[in-house]
């Protein structure tokens, strides 16, 4: 068995294990859960609609009726932040799922078959890595146009290429195990080898990649929206709420610059902490160095 799968004991009361061994990681998990909850049930939790404008209470500081204040159109900041979780979580989870599906496919094929396929695929990955992530994302968004689905597609594509290398190296490690050789000696076909013997043993690195990337994807989406290439208004996104267009208002009402960033940082912090903790728990090489 690959060393990674030993951690499958995680499934038995996984959260309890995480809480005992990695309290900060568990806190990260709780933070993420809260964000996901807000994304799903924001409509019930938010005191106002995200686009409910009250022209008589524009740029008001925090008060009993608007806990975090209002923006330049008199919209409730707290409600917009709660609704903003939808974009971040949709792009975060959507982008990571799409990216990892692509990365797993490419990494499995490249690592398992090796040879010329591997050399070719890896050179393509090399070339792709020469472009800064944000520049690639901006360029693709310029081609596809703004919108939620396009952001998810773009970030999914970028992640698929980058992460395929990590998956490939995991496949290369698993491939050298005796049980893989035994299966081959018993006459298992390529399909069976990949699906039954290789894939189940690279699940742990895939889980680690998912959580580690979640924070990164949320950040890139925010940067894209900040620059005006993400999800277009009026639907609120945390990055969009911080965007330069609102700077004039932020100078008069600094809470507009503060709270969306706090929400964004908490989400990224949660994802990073959970990712770190899962890596420590699932990756045996790091065990004992906690």
């Amino acid at each position: 068995m690959a060393p990674w799968t030993r951690a499958s004991g995680m499934s038995k009361g996984a959260f309890g294990v995480l809480l005992r061994r990695k309290p900060l990681g568990a806190l990260g998990g709780v933070l993420l859960l809260v964000m996901v909850g807000l994304a799903f049930f924001g409509g019930w939790v938010a005191p106002y609609g995200y686009d409910d404008a009250d022209v008589f209470s524009r740029l008001r500081p925090a008060s009993g009726s608007h806990w975090l204040g209002t923006d330049n159109l008199g919209r409730d900041l707290l409600s917009r932040i709660i609704y903003g979780a939808r974009v971040s979580m949709a792009v975060g989870f959507g982008g990571v799922a799409l990216g990892l599906a692509g990365a797993t496919l490419v990494g499995l094929l490249s690592g398992y078959f090796g040879g010329r396929v591997d050399i070719l695929v890896q050179r393509v990955v090399d070339a792709f890595m020469c472009f800064p992530l944000l520049l690639v994302a901006l360029t693709i968004m310029a081609l596809l146009g703004p919108g939620l689905v396009n952001v998810i597609l773009t970030l999914g594509l970028v992640l698929a290429v980058r992460d395929s290398r990590v998956i490939r190296s995991a496949v290369l490690t698993v491939k050298t195990n005796l049980y893989v050789e035994s299966a081959r000696a018993l006459g298992a076909g390529h399909g069976a080898m990949i699906v039954r013997h290789i894939f189940p043993n690279i699940v742990a690195p895939i889980i680690i990649l998912a959580t580690v990337n979640l924070g990164a994807v949320i950040l890139i989406e925010a940067a894209l929206s900040f620059l005006g290439f993400g999800v277009p208004p009026p639907h609120p996104s945390w990055g969009g709420m911080l965007s330069g267009a609102g700077l004039v208002h932020m100078l008069r009402a600094p809470w507009l610059a503060l709270w969306p960033g706090v929400a964004l940082s908490l989400a990224v912090f949660g994802a990073n902490m959970l990712g770190d903790a899962l890596r420590d728990v699932l990756d045996p090489r790091l065990r004992g160095t906690e």
Binding site: P132, L134, L135, L227, M250, A257, F269, M273
Partner: protein
């Protein structure tokens, strides 16, 4: 060492070829017709055939590629559809700003990350170590554009002071002022990377400090500083240099945001303008230029291994 350098240089060729294919594909991979979109949404003239010719889209693909690569090799990276200026002229004018900003960010990240990372490793599991690790996690979680926005907004609201934005001072006018105006953006950009480098430094130092030769150095009675800096740090440096070199795309990408916030006329703001105007020749030119820059920095990082690790020089 020369053979190693030559071998490494040869490996660049296929990467260059693929990078050129990617950049070439930018305009051609768009769903639908890029020319129709540019005419309808961005009013780049009225004549579709003329625009197609200008972008070189009226010839067979292979010919288009060869003509484009031929131009690139002669230093012609394309011409802006908006300003009609050669893209390379603008890149040459704006690149020094981005380069200074990136280098300054790297210096700031290293100044913060190396001492903190080394101390955290030497004093593992003390309150200082926990503080350093918390700083690193915080630095990784706080978006740099938010930090920059706060730096602009908060002092202006509470202390009526704001960093000067949009009053760019050129290097020739006032070298001191030129660097000074880049310090705040460089801090915002560098602090995130400081988190990454600090974690790496701490991890590598912990690993190296447990090695036998370090124990021997302690046992010989060498002074603590010498052991940590000369014996441990030098051996921990290779992965750290790899991380810093590998972060070049991050610095260029991050400068897009910083130049946007602080109104700096660098390559980042240049490409952002081009992207908002769908000025494809410029988008292509900047992508190609940045990719070449990254390839060059990766090459320099690889070559620096020889200087850091004498074993590699003799292989």
């Amino acid at each position: 060492m020369v053979r190693y350098a030559l071998k490494r240089l040869l490996l660049v060729v296929p990467t260059l070829f693929l990078v050129s294919l990617f950049v070439f594909a930018i305009v051609r991979a768009i769903p639908g017709d890029v020319v129709d979109m540019m005419l309808e949404q961005f009013q780049y003239g009225k004549d579709a055939a003329e625009l197609r010719q200008k972008l070189g889209l009226d010839r067979p693909l292979a010919e288009q590629y060869l003509v484009w690569v031929g131009g690139v090799l002669r230093g012609n990276l394309g011409q802006s559809l908006w300003t009609k200026r050669p893209a390379l002229v603008d890149i040459a004018a704006r690149f020094p700003v981005t380069l200074t900003l990136s280098l300054l960010s790297i210096v700031i990240s290293l100044l913060v990350a190396l001492p903190v990372g080394i101390l955290a490793a030497v004093k593992q599991d003390t309150s200082g170590d926990y503080a350093a690790r918390s700083f690193a996690i915080g630095a990784l979680s706080i978006p740099n554009f938010w930090l920059a926005t706060l730096i602009v907004v908060i002092p202006s609201f509470y202390f009526q002071w704001a960093p000067s934005i949009g009053n760019f001072v050129g290097f020739r006018e006032d070298p001191g002022g030129y660097v000074a105006q880049l310090v705040l953006p460089a801090i915002c950009l560098g602090i995130t990377q400081a988190g990454v480098i600090m974690r790496m430094t701490r991890g590598m130092m912990l690993e190296v400090l447990r090695q036998d030769y370090v124990r021997t150095a302690w046992a010989k009675g060498l002074a603590g500083q010498g052991v940590v800096l000369r014996h441990a740090l030098r051996n921990a440096m290779i992965p750290i240099v790899t991380v810093i070199g590998g972060q070049m795309p991050f610095y260029v990408g991050g400068s897009i945001v910083m130049e946007h916030i602080f109104g700096l006329p660098g390559m980042g703001s240049f490409v952002l303008e081009a992207i908002s105007r769908r000025d494809y020749p410029v988008i292509q030119a900047v992508n190609l230029f940045v990719a070449l820059l990254v390839i060059l920095s990766n090459l320099l990082v690889d070559l620096s291994y020889g200087a850091l690790d004498p074993r590699l020089r003799h292989e």
